[in-house]
Structures are given as structure tokens and as C-alpha cells.
Point group: C2
Chain length 362, copies 2
């Protein structure tokens, strides 16, 4: 599963996309803008991405027959999320079409593997401990310090599967909340700010980083991303370098998002929070303020094309539209608007985003 060298895909080639949410949808739109076609594979009949391309497969991710047919119908395969079942790579003929890196997918799916991997790259993470028992939890809370954050090892996103834990809490009840899922306890970092790097790496090994972005989460969901981030040039350069190290270590092809905590500690100014081996919500501003968007660069990498120019031409603030905020979206003034076409409005659901541009400051 990987970057085996292959000729650049020609005009009209079909990019296969696993996942039919807003990221899959935006990847399909980016493929179309490059004269390529997009085939969406997703289990939900009403996946938003199905509305933007004539090519689709409605099937489960463990449907080996459907996956094999999908693989035959497309020239290259990518995904919108990191939870691609490892078995996918076993499907006949699929391996040589998958782009990205099996390593990073396996790793990004599991917080323990992810932290070990990051540490193996010589990068810092917040103090953490794997949690498999109530005793682990008790001992670890003392070790990493209170407060701490308990997270399931797998399948968590947007704050799902996360609990803040403090000394004196009823640890038994907290542990039972895991319902047997393996977990990890992380020290709660009193960070100055959160930033992320969106980096593209091409099939030829070239990389292109977008400017470092500053992120604000609310209720564990990304609310707002602004660029440029309020960090020193040295910290920004270190963050980009860390993202590049990660991408090179696993010979990754495509766009990768790396989230950091900026600590204010001169010795360890950055802690890696999470790696997302895919296009990332904090990179959405690139579609309005950069020469090439993160989606275009991901598709270019997957298609074996040279990467596009990530230069930014405006300052930007991206705000997610959550739940019923989408209802007034069409009348928002002064912003670039992107809606995901989701039919059902649910509280906290990502329904779209706005990008406010302002003159370039640096």
C-alpha cells in the first residue's frame, strides 16, 4: 500500500475515494477541477459525496467483492479518513492502486501506536500511559498528573471517546465508561495555543507545506482556524520540519495534517497532538487563500503529478458551520462559503464552513 513509482495519471483518469463525507466530497471536487474523474465508495446511501459525481459504489468497507470491483474501476485509490480497515489492503489487486502509506494508516488509527511512532521520529508528545485496566488508570493518573485526558485508543474523533479525568474522580466509573475499549491517558497540556501543519508529499518525494495554521476547538470540535498562526518563525519552521520528518519516515504520498500544542516552554516548544494521514479540517482555508488547495495537492500527489504551489495570498479565518448554523449560511456576508450538502442537520454536525479573507500581513 503505497508510493510505488507509477506514471502520472492522464486527463479523465478515475480517482477512487474511500469515504463519502465532506472530505471525500471536497476531494472529488478537486479531482474534477483537475480534469480527473472521481469514484466514491461509501456505505451510506445518502453520503454527501455521492451528489457530486456520477461514479459510486454503495457498500461496506469489509465487502471484499465490492472493493475488488471498485479497485478495477479506478486508476488510484485514496481515502478521506484514517479508519480504513487494514483488510482493505488485502483485496486482490488493490495494493498497487492504494496511495498514501499503510504504515501511517495503521498508526493513526491507534493512539498508542501513534504516540510511539511520533516518539520514534524524535518528536515530543505530552506524557501518556496505555490503559488496559482500572489499576492502569489509577497508577497512570499519578504518573502523568492531574488533570489528564482519557481517550479510547481507536475510532475517536471530534471529542468522541474522550473524558477529562481529575484526581479524586470516581476512577472506577470513569473506567467502566470505556466499556472494555483499550485506552490511553494523556497529561492535560496547558498549551498556549494549538497549531497545525498541512503538508503535501508527492510520489517523487517532493514536499509542499502550507503556512502554519492556528486552531481553536470548542467541545473537542474544530471551531476556527486562522492563518498566519501567532508563532515565531522558529516555531513555525520546527512544526513544518516535524511534519516533513513524519511524512518521510513512512514514505507517505498525499496530504497529511499534524496537530501540535504550542507550550511556551523554550526547551520543548511543540508537542505533537495528532497525525491525520489525509486532508484536514484546519487546511480548508487553502481553497480560498492559497494558489493550490490542500485538496488539489492531495489529488495531484495521488495522481502522481508534481505538487502545486502552496503560496498564500491573503490572511484567512476559517470557521466551521455546526448544526443549525447552516440554516442562515446563504446570507452570511463577506465570506467565501462552502456547504457540504448534508440533508440532516444535527447539533454539532459539520455542515459547512466559511473563509474570511483579509489583506496579507506576512
Amino acid at each position: 500500500m503505497t508510493s510505488e513509482p507509477s506514471a502520472p495519471l492522464p486527463a479523465g483518469a478515475v480517482i477512487g475515494i474511500l469515504g463519502g463525507g465532506q472530505l471525500g466530497r471536497m476531494l472529488a471536487l478537486a479531482a474534477h477541477r483537475l480534469g480527473l474523474r472521481a469514484h466514491i465508495y461509501a456505505p451510506e446511501r445518502d453520503a454527501p459525496a455521492f451528489d457530486v459525481t456520477p461514479l459510486k459504489t454503495v457498500a461496506r468497507y469489509d465487502d471484499m467483492v465490492a472493493l475488488a470491483k471498485f479497485s478495477e474501476a479506478v486508476a488510484a485509490i485514496t481515502w478521506e479518513f484514517e479508519n480504513v480497515p487494514a483488510e482493505v489492503a488485502e483485496v486482490h489487486g488493490i495494493a498497487r492502486k492504494l496511495r498514501g502509506s499503510s504504515a501511517v494508516v495503521g498508526v493513526a488509527q491507534d493512539r498508542v501506536l501513534e504516540k510511539r511512532f511520533i516518539e520514534s521520529c524524535g518528536l515530543a508528545v505530552a506524557p501518556w500511559q496505555a490503559i488496559d485496566s482500572l489499576d492502569d488508570l489509577k497508577i497512570s493518573l499519578a504518573a502523568v498528573g492531574s488533570p489528564a485526558v482519557l481517550k479510547t485508543r481507536r475510532l475517536g474523533y471530534d471529542g468522541k471517546g474522550q473524558w477529562l479525568v481529575r484526581e479524586g474522580d470516581d476512577l472506577r466509573s470513569v473506567f467502566n465508561g470505556l466499556k472494555g475499549a483499550p485506552a490511553v491517558l494523556e497529561s492535560f497540556v496547558a498549551f498556549e495555543r494549538e497549531v497545525s501543519v498541512i503538508l503535501a508529499r508527492g510520489a517523487n518525494g517532493a514536499t509542499a507545506a502550507f503556512d502554519v495554521t492556528e486552531n481553536i476547538h470548542e467541545n473537542h470540535i474544530l471551531r476556527r482556524s486562522t492563518v498566519p498562526a501567532r508563532v515565531s518563525p522558529a516555531v513555525a519552521a520546527a512544526a513544518v520540519e516535524a511534519a516533513r520528518d513524519i511524512a518521510e519516515r513512512i514514505d507517505y504520498v498525499g496530504v497529511l495534517g499534524v496537530e501540535f500544542f504550542v507550550t511556551g516552554d523554550a526547551e520543548r516548544p511543540l508537542l505533537v497532538n495528532e497525525i491525520a494521514p489525509r486532508v484536514h479540517n484546519s487546511g480548508h482555508w487553502t481553497e480560498a487563500a492559497a494558489v493550490t488547495s490542500q485538496f488539489s495537492n492531495h489529488i495531484r500527489a495521488v495522481a502522481g503529478w508534481p505538487l502545486g504551489d502552496p503560496t498564500r495570498f491573503a490572511d484567512a479565518e476559517m470557521v466551521n458551520l455546526l448544526g443549525d448554523e447552516v440554516l442562515k449560511a446563504s446570507s452570511l456576508q463577506g465570506v467565501s462559503l462552502h456547504l457540504y450538502g448534508k440533508s440532516e442537520v444535527r447539533p454539532g454536525r459539520k455542515m459547512g464552513h466559511t473563509i474570511r479573507l483579509s489583506p496579507l500581513t506576512r
Copy 2:
């Protein structure tokens, strides 16, 4: 056929688009970005726009049954070209869904009606005469002066149906080249430069103009558009005002392109060359350098939404990729790339475009 007041279309509503070329394709992509769906109607089985949406009708523009079904399947209808047959508006139930203005479509299809209409708005055009006979041609050449440009009244685009005529030419042979088509003879304008205004007008009558763009044609095909145009603020303001006058006069809804010759004559600094009641090639830069693109604003107008902000955040140069120039497109550096997914490469055919951004100068 028109701007009858109607409620803003909701998320997921289907925009019907007559025409399946690159403009129809870009309109569909813009609809998708706004969470709307797009249904393409075109006669060609392999129309490029069919590749970017699951909803399509393959049928001729005079197929009244197919048009009626199309009309029932969509919430509003727009087009990518001005040659929509007038009969379309007669199809049962279609009139209340068509957005734009029947007036401008009829007018923009016929160079004589177009010039009369422009003059009726109090705007200047180059000296011209209608040509229906060889005698007309002889007399008119003396009247408008040599050299002059002979153009068919209808169905001309990208220089098709145009001939440069000079005193001393064999006028009989030139006239026979028309094969009986009604024509118009225009004075050849020794212009300083060509500019265009891309203006959006909403269903509520509000307008939003993009910055005036300077255009260079080669072989009658748009080659390059740059913004800002090298014109004085007064000339730029007059051009925008003229475009607004035209849009208001016909109660137009959507995006309109107006091409001008800049004459250098202080008395009549601008001559209107052509009106295009649709998104326009010279407005393609807006997708990379403005808060809202011409395509988004056209769809917003058609959907009855408030217009988006046309503010520009970079200087830009759009270059069309013609014919086999597309073959090296993926390796072009430093530009925003848009390819149309056309399978057949023909000399002079518009295959895509690039947009080069540079820091805002004004």
C-alpha cells in the same frame, strides 16, 4: 422567463444547467460547493459537464418532451451559453424556472439586435451596418470605413463567422462566404486595449461587480486576462456603470460579461463590443483571486440567494490552455490549474486555464 420573485432555494435543491461544456461544468462545481445539486442538459453524450454530477439529460435543445421532464426535475434553470433557442421558454412549466432574462438572450444571439439594444442604453458601439446583400456590403464598407470586420448576425463565437474586410477586397467573394447568412459590418476599432466587466445581479436587484479585467485575444480566441486592468479609475467606473445599466435595463438575474474597447478617445473612452448573458471566460480569475467566484455568484443569483462578496485579494493573470498545451498542464509551476476534462484535444480548443497570482497592487 425571468426574475419572478421566489423564495431562496434550500440546501440540496437542484439547479438545472442548459449546456455541458466547461462553463456548465464550472457552474455545476460551484453549485456543489454551495451544497446544491446540478442537473446538466446537453445533446452531446460525452459533454465534459456530465463527468461532475450524477444528474443528467442527454437530449437536443429542441426536444420539448425532454425539456419538460428536465424542467420538472429541477428547481431553477440557467444556461452556459447565449444561444438557447427561444422555443425553450415555450415549454410547459419551464418559464417560471428559467432565471436570467429572455430579453438579453434574444438580444445577445443577434449582433444587430445587440447593437441596437446597447445604443438604446445610451452606450456607444463601433460604427456598424446590417448586411443583407452584396450592395449593403459595398455601401457599408464606405460608410463604416476600411478596414472593417464582417460578422454573421447569429451563432458566432471565438472568431467563427468573422472576416476582416479591406477596401479593394473582392467583396463578392467575401459576401458569398456568408452563404446567405445575415451579417453585420463593423468598423475595425484601433483600440488601446480590450477590457471586460463581470457583473452579478441578484434576484433582489442588488449588483456586485468584479474588478475590471484586461483581455488579450489571439486568433479571435481569448488568450489572457489580467487584473487589475490598466485603465484609469474613471474609465473603470464607467465600464462597471455601463454593465450595471445593461443588467438593470433587462432586469437580468445572474452573471453577465460585457466586453469593451478602450479607445484612448477622451470623448468616447469606451465602446461596447459584446454582451454575454452568462459567466464569461474573462472572469475565470475570480475562482482563485476573489472572495466569491463568478460561478458562485451566478449560482447564488439563480438560487435566489444574496450575492457573495466580489472583493479581490491578489493580482491575477488567467491564461487559457488551448489544444495540446493541455498535455503539459500538470507540470506547470506556480499557477492555480483548472482543466475541463475534455477527452478530445483539437487545435485552438479551450482545454483548461491557469491563474497566476501575485501580491495585490491596487
